[in-house]
Symmetry: C2
Subunit: 302 residues, 2 copies
């Protein structure tokens, strides 16, 4: 196995994890979550989104959350910004990185936002230009990069095409996201290797879901393809809107447990993350789906 | 990745999976489970054990179970046989393969059976000789091969030493078992490569638990080390006696889903296994812990 010596973990629980929770999570809880995560050493936290509160009411308090947190030097705080209005909100809140997004599946794009992939990405041009002008980092997220609920397996050429468009918009980092968790290790390696042909591997991240339990194997395969940035969510926060009751984002504790065993440095305190996973799971009222998190917490309690 | 083109799955749910269930599972349910599994195409099923019913009351009906199943040609039915009396029961029941076992951890051996590793394996000599004389297959299982609840990480030399002793007893197949699920991919590769130095890789199997969510990554690493036999349990049946509420054996559905994606042939019908996982989970009254199983069942229901 040829593996990186360092991995950057992007912790997505405050945004991607919480946004699917039906009950509104109080602003102070969101603030404490982000502060716990930054104190645990995460170099990048997807903290909030600036979208219409009509679409995503859970994220309506993005400005208050950002105003309430204690900034840790060395942590990049990211926000989803679907349009210029969202970007203005993010800029005012002092966000370090804005995230734009597009699907690699034509069927998904048409069904969800009623336009082609190409059109959907063109719409982000003003946001991308504004981010560059303001000196912010820009991240582009490619959803449905392994499969789509409507059209099955995603052609690798579609992923590469979206990556190329995102590069052209000036993205500093590009996420290859298996939104519905259907991908397996061989295909993940193929997709990642194809994207590394046009994007520097140091600027590509892998975003995996444990819907089919494949995330850690996929991360291993992605690392072997040269990738060293991964998204994860403490306690596995965040369900899957396409499969009720299914597991969502890969749990940060499981990823960190594996990486520690592989002697890969992340700079993150696993012990603090385990505590945070148990704490936030208690707050939102369902058991953590992190297997390593639950086992380590049980070991600590014993 | 250098992966095998074929993998043999040893389905352990009827024995390893059910034996931790507190409530007695009715004999006809056990029989139906084994029959469903053989019909799904499993080449090897760990069906029963012949141990004292005082120790493991759940397995007291081994003879009735074996008398009730429909034998499928091509399926090897295995039984745990801790002593000559158990072996006689297995032989009378028409078992194809008997399984003996020993820990790779000295602390575990002393604490659990009050003797050294070497002594514990010597005690199996009569069973091994009887199995050979009767023309049965003999499998040796090395527990705590990655870690031990009492002494932490297991030295690789201890695993190799137990493997050597089991080879000397005439074992046809040797299991490297991460009984408490603590192992991660790098170490798994190292342990497997060390064992392949003295045992033909085609005779080594990997037995992983998802206590820390690492099984699929570990299977991937083991395959890269030349291993092509793995144990799994439908619905993830079987808890972990060392961590209450923790996940047990890796779920067969998750393994098959990954192997299918890797174009690795198992000869097993994943669809039938998904149904069986949901069926048996209903019978024992707790939700399947197989992520792929639950996601595929939800997809089917939709």
């Amino acid at each position: 196995m040829s593996l990186p010596s360092k991995v950057k973990i992007v912790e997505v629980s405050p945004r991607d994890g919480l946004q699917n929770e039906k009950e509104f999570i109080a602003t102070p809880v969101k603030i404490e979550l982000i502060d716990r995560l930054s104190q645990a050493g995460f170099p990048n936290i997807e903290a909030v989104s600036f979208v219409s509160p009509k679409w995503v009411p859970q994220m309506a308090d993005g400005a208050e959350v950002m105003a309430g947190i204690q900034r840790r030097p060395g942590t990049i705080y990211s926000a989803l910004t679907p349009n210029l209005r969202g970007f203005e909100g993010a800029l005012a809140a002092g966000i370090d990185e804005v995230v734009i997004f597009g699907a690699a599946s034509e069927a998904f794009s048409q069904k969800n936002i009623n336009c082609s992939i190409a059109e959907s990405i063109t719409r982000f041009e003003p946001v991308a230009q504004a981010a560059k002008a303001a000196g912010l980092r820009l991240r582009g997220s490619i959803s449905c990069a392994l499969g789509c609920p409507y059209q099955g397996e995603t052609p690798i050429a579609s992923v590469v095409d979206v990556a190329r468009r995102m590069l052209a918009l000036g993205c500093d980092e590009i996420d290859v996201a298996d939104t519905i968790g259907v991908g397996t290790a061989l295909r993940v390696g193929q997709v990642m290797r194809a994207v590394t042909e046009i994007v520097d591997p140091a600027r590509i991240s892998g975003h995996f879901h444990d819907t089919y339990g494949q995330s850690l194997a996929n991360i291993l395969a992605a690392m072997e393809a040269g990738i060293s940035i991964f998204h994860s969510s403490v306690g596995g926060l965040g369900g899957c809107p396409y499969a009720k009751g299914a597991t969502g984002n890969v749990a940060t504790e499981d990823v960190l447990y594996m990486l520690r065993g592989l002697d890969i440095d992340t700079g993150i305190d696993l012990d603090a993350v385990v505590d945070t996973g148990q704490w936030i799971s208690g707050h939102i009222g369902h058991k953590s789906s992190s297997r390593a998190g639950n086992a380590l917490a049980a070991r600590k309690a014993a």
